[in-house]
């Protein structure tokens, strides 16, 4: 694991892993979509709208996973000052923000036919919106500060402060009386969802996770190359200035 912390070795590994991971994403998402639309039965209460769950729930999980990843990477940036930790955090933010956006929109589209409204200021919905806004804040911070090291340290502090929102999202349905349903998959007494619906959900979650990792690896490679390009452009400018002098 420590050897992977070397950017050059990391880039070599990424070029090997990417084709296999791309194939895995296609297989998992293809199987998941087939199970979601052709095998999973309609819910006895919600009818066909339960099919929104197969994208809404994995998207929400990955939005939280992405932020947890950023918070762990923030510790790597602040304690060990490792450049790859900052690269990992910075590149996870747009991906996590996209999944948070998908979770919010699909939840809203699921809520209208089931609850009769697109939005309520419910604890779960509001904390998820706060997560999306935190992602946007982090992206803005990284864009605003030009020097990557300074931007990374500032963003790491913000990421760690915002990490308090993750347990709030998870336990909001237990701590407050909400319109959103309580936990029905990862709970003490086991899942309350029928296996006919649970299997497509897990396959779609695996596909979404593989997609997250794939996008993250490509984005990390691009970010490492961007920092190399930046360093070389500075060298070029310095050389030109010396030649003129």
């Amino acid at each position: 694991m420590i050897s992977l912390a070397n950017p050059t070795r990391f880039l070599g590994l990424v070029s090997v892993v990417l084709p296999w991971l791309s194939a895995l994403v296609v297989i998992l998402l293809g199987t998941g979509l087939y199970l979601s639309f052709f095998v999973a039965p309609p819910d006895y209460q919600q009818g066909e709208t339960v099919r929104i769950m197969f994208i809404h729930v994995p998207a929400a999980w990955l939005a939280m996973f992405g932020y947890t990843l950023i918070a762990i990477a923030a510790l790597g940036t602040l304690i060990w000052r490792h450049p790859l930790a900052d690269v990992a955090a910075k590149t996870a933010a747009p991906i996590g923000a996209t999944f948070a956006f998908i979770a919010l929109v699909t939840g809203s589209l699921w809520g209208k036919p089931m609850w009769g409204t697109y939005w309520v200021w419910d604890a779960r919905l509001t904390s998820m919106l706060v997560l999306f806004l935190l992602y946007l804040g982090l992206i803005a911070l990284w864009q605003a500060v030009e020097e990557p090291g300074r931007a990374g340290r500032a963003a790491a502090i913000l990421a760690l402060v915002g990490a308090i929102n993750i347990p709030i999202i998870k336990f909001s349905v237990d701590w407050w009386n909400t319109l959103h349903q309580p936990a029905s998959v990862f709970r003490a007494g086991g899942p309350t969802i029928d296996p006919a619906l649970l299997t497509p959900l897990f396959v779609m979650a695996a596909g979404f996770t593989a997609l997250f990792v794939l996008l993250h690896l490509i984005a990390m490679r691009a970010e490492i190359l961007r920092r190399r390009v930046r360093a070389l452009q500075q060298t070029e400018v310095a050389r030109a200035a010396m030649a003129e002098a």
Binding site: G47, E48, I95, L109, K112
Partner: protein, 103 residues
């Protein structure tokens, strides 16, 4: 085509938004990766390389074969180091004399 019931438009819209959002993210990520690679290649073509990539690969060249007998080179022996001077330790008699001497 299967029937998605009375709320088909919500289901289709949810999947549509997901496809568009993920597709846009994938395209943007791949495009950024391609752009950075192109920029790096352009800089390297100009001869600007990273320090670790700047050194050309070392070629193993065989040493030239000498046709004439070379003079034996005098090997330079390392100079003998003189042992460091040590202060002679005071003898027990000296020490006792020093102790006994009136201050």
């Amino acid at each position: 085509m299967f029937d998605l019931g009375p709320h088909a438009s919500f289901i289709v819209a949810a999947y549509g938004v997901t496809v568009v959002a993920v597709g846009a993210l994938l395209i943007a990520t791949l495009e950024d990766d391609r752009k950075q690679r192109r920029l790096l290649t352009d800089l390297e073509r100009k001869g600007i390389r990273r320090r670790s990539a700047a050194k050309p690969p070392v070629k193993q060249v065989a040493p030239p074969v000498k046709t004439t007998a070379a003079k034996p080179q005098a090997t330079r022996m390392p100079a003998k180091r003189k042992p460091a001077k040590r202060k002679p330790a005071k003898s027990a008699a000296t020490k006792s004399r020093a102790r006994k001497s009136p201050s």
